[in-house]
Symmetry: C2
Subunit: 224 residues, 2 copies
């Protein structure tokens, strides 16, 4: 079974397309963020609260990936921004080619920010570059503090860790300090925001993080 060379070939091809996407995003000054997490960590709810709060001056588009169903696209389309569901039909992660196909009929000049919600999976999406400026990993406090140690690749490759569902902290055996320590052991420079989509705690910091990334992304592109 000669699997490694094939996996490498697939990843190389993915990286090539991701590189092209990154160039196209740069050309149109689009910040692309790739949200990854376990199933049910709260990515879609976080995106609902995010879209709800955006100033209309920020032109957002959303791609949301799932194995099956277009539930998430239906939930996210309510906010009036362009949303597309990518149904992978069994594939456990999004690939650059799927992004390329999904945006094929969009005018990229119409957008400032592209939010990609990956398939719920803490393993495989870490290997697939989608041309994003940054990966953001969402970890619910119901999942246990040890996840950064058990799934290090995802936390190592993410710039920001959103510790989600902190409203449940009184009811679960989860120590924030331990989770932060484990995340930083795997990735010392990772930024961390604690948040609850239910109560709204932490949402202003999250919104500020995106807006500050939007500004710095544009400045970096302008300086080129």
């Amino acid at each position: 079974m000669n699997r490694v060379p094939l996996v490498q070939k697939v990843l190389k091809e993915n990286d090539r397309i991701a590189g092209e996407l990154r160039e196209r995003f740069a050309e149109h000054k689009i910040l692309c963020l790739n949200l990854v997490s376990s199933p049910g960590a709260g990515k879609t709810s976080l995106l609902e609260r995010t879209l709800e709060a955006f100033a209309p001056s920020i032109r957002v588009a959303v791609l949301t990936g799932d194995i099956q169903t277009d539930n998430d696209a239906v939930r996210l389309a309510r906010f009036g921004f362009p949303v597309k569901q990518i149904t992978t039909g069994g594939t456990c992660h999004l690939e650059a080619r799927m992004i390329e196909n999904a945006i094929a009929d969009w005018r990229l000049e119409d957008f400032d920010l592209l939010l990609v919600e990956n398939v719920g999976n803490l393993v495989c999406p870490s290997s697939y570059d989608l041309g994003e400026a940054a990966k953001i990993v969402v970890l619910s406090v119901t999942e246990g503090e040890d996840k950064p140690l058990k799934y290090p690749s995802m936390f190592f490759r993410s710039e920001l860790l959103v510790l989600n569902k902190i409203d449940l902290l009184p009811y679960v055996p989860f120590k924030l300090e331990k989770a932060r320590e484990f995340a930083r052991r795997v990735h010392p420079g990772i930024e961390i925001i604690e948040l609850s989509s239910l109560t709204g705690e932490g949402l202003p910091q999250w919104q500020q993080w995106i807006e500050s990334r939007l500004r710095s992304h544009r400045e970096a592109l302008a300086a080129k």
Copy 2:
């Protein structure tokens, strides 16, 4: 990119080894159960409570899979049963070959029950037969009711759904009735147990389910 034939070849080879494992388990009258779930759905805690409660007359062995760390094996070894960690080093699921290697130095005649805790991933482990008698999918109520629809393969291939962490029901927007309906839409015959490892609710039903499977497994083998 000619991926489909390779994936089929890998799965075919896996099925071959899984078939051999199944024969060996039958020969030694071992019931093998394969526990699957998202990361953090509570498989290890459930196994802790399970091992704690087993009558010494049931001879159990445990294999626990993770990308990295042997935390789970350390947690599970406390109960005095043989436990082995399978560290996949990046692979997002257990494969039959890993089980074969892990049990190579065990005397199978010493066991009645082999509990396999798969890597936390609601997608890929559904495709890999490990020679088990049944897959059991654990879904935490914090993950949302829609997971059976979004990850149908896993629920379709599992005989039992453990709806876990029901102690958190008062604090999360999760409707048990809806979760049951969605699971049965994907897999009409799936059995369902509602459970909390924290409060112990549902644990007797879970324990009875395993014991009844042990009995019927032996009867089926004896009738052959």
